[in-house]
Symmetry: C2
Subunit: 357 residues, 2 copies
Amino acid sequence: MATLSDVARRAGVSPATASRVINGSSKPVTDELRERVLAAVAELQYVPNAHAQLLARSHRSAVGVIVHDVSDPYFAEITRGLQRVATDQGRLLMICNSYRDPDRELEYVELLRGHQVAALILAGSGYHDDAFTRQLNEKLAAYEATGGRVAVIGRHEHSGDAVMPDNRTGGHLAGRELCELGHRAIGVVAGPRILTTTTDRLAGLRQALGEQGRELPERRIRYAEFDRDGGAEATARLLDADPDLTAIVALNDSMAIGALATLRSRSLAVPQQISVVGFDDMPIARDVTPALTTVRLPLVDMGVRAMSLVLGAQGPAPRVEVLPAELVRRGTTGPAPHPGWDTAGSPPDARRADTAS
Amino acid sequence: MATLSDVARRAGVSPATASRVINGSSKPVTDELRERVLAAVAELQYVPNAHAQLLARSHRSAVGVIVHDVSDPYFAEITRGLQRVATDQGRLLMICNSYRDPDRELEYVELLRGHQVAALILAGSGYHDDAFTRQLNEKLAAYEATGGRVAVIGRHEHSGDAVMPDNRTGGHLAGRELCELGHRAIGVVAGPRILTTTTDRLAGLRQALGEQGRELPERRIRYAEFDRDGGAEATARLLDADPDLTAIVALNDSMAIGALATLRSRSLAVPQQISVVGFDDMPIARDVTPALTTVRLPLVDMGVRAMSLVLGAQGPAPRVEVLPAELVRRGTTGPAPHPGWDTAGSPPDARRADTAS
DNA sequence: GCGTATCAGGCAAACGCTTTCCCGCGAGCG
DNA sequence: CGCTCGCGGGAAAGCGTTTGCCTGATACGC
């Protein structure tokens, strides 16, 4: 690889001058030398060594991002928001997938710190795991102590800046909607119980049912991976145990899509026989049939806010921005097929009052 | 940030020794000193400066990847394959999104070169743009000249190692299938015509029709963005111009999903009134209703192969691996509603011979 | 007891760049 | 005409590591 000195030599100038020309230093350079340097750069196909540059100007500019999985639409949307702000400010993003492995998350914090990122953003649910939470907090504190900025998205265990989707209210919205539609036998297809996102959403749901004097017994909840197949499988287990369910809340849209697949394979009509509510409002939600009723989270905006927090002025106290959840009614929800006084029997095939999308 | 010298000072050893302890050099160090260094590392929360390390040991280890958009399922799958191999070999991946902007692609090649990546993988369609192709080839050649390895996925304009999905045969499969089902009025929802992927798939399709003595006139093709909304819009334009279409080929699954949305909004029954074939077999294809008939590409495998090529032994000649496409029949295709001898009129609503999924 | 082989550990030179500081030169001013 | 000032350009000191090489000490053989 050609180096700066190669360029300088070829142009007949000092490395200092070459450097100044190449990255437009404020120090003036005569046009003639500038030309010569530029010519040399072109001839040698010179590209500065990024590591050497970053070492020399100890000027942190990149931002590190740790998500569970960028290819998961939830994070893809958040990342879009992060990118938008970062690009506007000429920042490079280093994105790492933890695949929901706490250890990997810890490793990535170190890695990114080692890469001298100016800030660190952790997106995605936290874990109910005190040992891990403590470790992570220590690492983040150490990082912040050296001037690094930190923001988290969707996890409350860290004390710094945070952007929080209102998972609890979202769960509440889903619960209330189903109650109002007359559903009583509601099953929940949940993500891993170790995730705070799961428990937060569950708590809101439970509260909504509670307000109607109902309960959400543990036997009506199935925990599985937070993806399509997890949703399919959990739904199957749920139906096996309790075939009279009239509604299912999936704690994210991927799981909801899996739930729909299972329902389809069992020939259960949605929403005539059973209603389904998702969570997140991923883009695909409107394209399944029937279109998915779900709780919308402003994902892109969450990314935008988090990046703004971290690149903006350092606040005196840690700031927490809570972003609202919103119910989006589409085609997978409808009135409960069995009125409350009827607890058994399959729904009459007549009720085809489709609430089309 | 604590530096190696800080650690060394605190442990009462030289930086050399500290370094040796920290990255387990082959050079022996007494247990006592080792302990002291390790203790200092822990106390200071020391993390080595990655840039300094990469500068010092001029040992390229990371691999650069340029894709159109990781959050697009097509690339997400490919990336999964890339990751798998890279992780196995302890390589870090730097992934960049070009968002189908050729200039950005060029920039990223430079950026990654600057970051001293050991290899470069470009995934995603090439462009019908000679000036760009030449420029890219120059840059890649310059990079290879300095010992970098290069592989491309799904583009033939580069002369180095390549992994190619068989787009042409895939298009052919889709075309033949529809012909065999008796479709004559076939519309195409295509991606941007500047992409080689678009034209390759189109060429295969055209050939299949040609073998049946049919044509694919330009008026039955609409070009749009390679995503859901592009597909929806192109389908609308297609139907407006030619309401008698009995089948639509979308050149990728995202577009197919958009096509289905448009058909639904126009109350056209799929596949009874109109058939749809997608391309790629993204995970979501089986979850729309009806499930999408599509041409499967071994996306993960493409990633695996490309990374293996680039990390494996340098071949004498550039290697090209062509991976086969395969038709996956699901629910969106069925026999043409109008027999060939009838060229007008809307389909009789009686033919409900659903080929269920 | 001396010389040599062995071994742990330190010194210092890279790695490729940025940037401060300094120097020489020509112009402007008194 | 001499002095100062401004300006373009170069020398060199880092930035934080790694690592080849050297040194001093210890152990060993003769």
